[in-house]
């Protein structure tokens, strides 16, 4: 029960987008195509979880301070490995949809949300199980944030919004208001 409550808090009150802004640009891109929201979120979750798993073992190899300078590079390699495997698996199981899905795989692979998850996990020094739960929460939290933005994305980009605010400024204003509400809940 406690784990469930922690996971719920991690997805909502500690949502990676609303509390750290990490992955906001990708989120706005994702909200533009609500039909792909689920696949996009699933890819982000997959990348966060699998690369956290790989990074956990890779970090064990970096024992000296000088080798830890290359931590970002090691994380990139972990992400790269998951990226290649994901594309290969997609090619074999969903060849017809491969062309349309690969764009989302690319956007999910190298973005701040996933890399930020790896860095946060590394800084926390938490055991593997906690890291994987956190990584899954990052992915689900991202999906929730993308859903919240996609509900109103069309309105935020419509002619009713003043031209200067239309699109991107209105979107981040909207995200800012949600972030403020979450902040108020936490205080």
């Amino acid at each position: 029960m406690n784990i469930l409550l922690s996971a719920l808090a991690s997805v909502t009150l500690e949502n990676v987008i609303f509390t750290t802004a990490i992955g906001t640009s990708t989120l706005i891109e994702c909200a533009k195509s609500p039909k792909r929201l689920l696949s996009f979120g699933a890819f982000i979750t997959e990348f966060s979880v699998l690369s956290s798993l790989l990074a956990y073992f890779a970090e064990g190899l970096l024992k000296t301070d000088s080798s830890r300078l290359f931590l970002a590079g090691v994380y990139v390699l972990c992400l790269g490995g998951v990226y290649i495997v994901t594309l290969l698996v997609l090619w074999f199981i969903a060849r017809k949809r491969f062309a349309s899905l690969k764009k989302y795989v690319h956007l999910s692979a190298f973005n701040c949300a996933v890399l930020g998850c790896l860095f946060n996990n590394g800084l926390s020094g938490a055991p593997l199980s906690e890291r994987l739960i956190y990584a899954a929460c990052v992915g689900v939290g991202f999906m929730l944030a993308a859903y919240l933005l996609s509900i109103n994305y069309k309105k935020l980009s419509s002619e009713d919004v003043p031209a200067s605010f239309r699109g991107f400024p209105a979107s981040i204003l909207y995200i800012g208001v949600i972030a403020m509400i979450i902040y108020a809940f936490k205080v």
């Binding site: 990490i22 800084l123 800012g176």
Partner: protein, 207 residues
């Protein structure tokens, strides 16, 4: 049209009409969460400039024959290697070290910024190398200027002071939070687009 005549266009595009932060909304996280004053903005801008420009320049030599997926991995890997000396430089000095520590993970996260992972393939590497280097330079400078303006303004409004001297009769501490960053960035971005609209026509055309 000859690319040599495009210098002014490159300048206008990178700094104004396609400004990565204010017009395109790219690389938002460091601006919203880490750039709470001028100094933190300067640190992020410096890391961003070196990591992005050197990576874009170096990776322009990566052969196009290599599969797209592998190319992107190579770009980000190169960025993470370029980041190592930058990290060493900032952690050396005491004052710089403190400012650098304050931006936390937002500095290393710049290795996956969209200028490296997306714009290289969709724009930069489709151009001739000399023009590409010029355009990339203007994009980087455009982001830096926007970041410094945004961080400076945020610092002044949130504390009401400049270099410790009180210049405003009020302060809005909430602007140094993440939600404050989102809201202020939305307002400054809209203001930027409105000014562009006055200069170049409608904001939609300008952006």
């Amino acid at each position: 049209m000859n690319e040599k005549n495009f210098s002014r266009d490159a300048e206008r595009e990178g700094i104004l009409t396609r400004n990565p932060l204010f017009a395109s909304g790219a690389i938002l996280a460091p601006a919203v969460a880490a750039c709470t004053d001028f100094y933190s903005s300067a640190v992020i801008a410096a890391v961003f400039t070196v990591v992005t420009y050197v990576t874009v320049a170096l990776c322009s030599f990566v052969p196009r024959k290599i599969v797209y997926t592998v190319r992107i991995i190579l770009y980000t890997l190169a960025a993470s290697l370029v980041y190592v000396p930058v990290h060493l430089f900032f952690t050396k000095g005491e004052v710089l070290g403190e400012m650098y520590a304050a931006v936390g993970i937002y500095a290393p996260l710049l290795v996956t910024n969209s200028m490296i992972t997306l714009r290289t393939e969709t724009k930069f590497y489709r151009l001739s190398r000399p023009y590409m280097l010029k355009l990339a330079g203007f994009y980087v400078v455009g982001y830096d200027i926007a970041l410094l303006m945004f961080g400076g303004l945020r610092g002044i409004l949130s504390s009401g002071t400049v270099l410790g001297i009180k210049i405003l009769p009020f302060s809005i501490p909430a602007l140094s939070t993440v939600y404050g960053g989102f809201i202020l960035l939305a307002v400054t971005s809209a203001l930027f687009r409105w000014i562009l609209g006055l200069i170049f026509g409608s904001p939609q055309k300008a952006a």
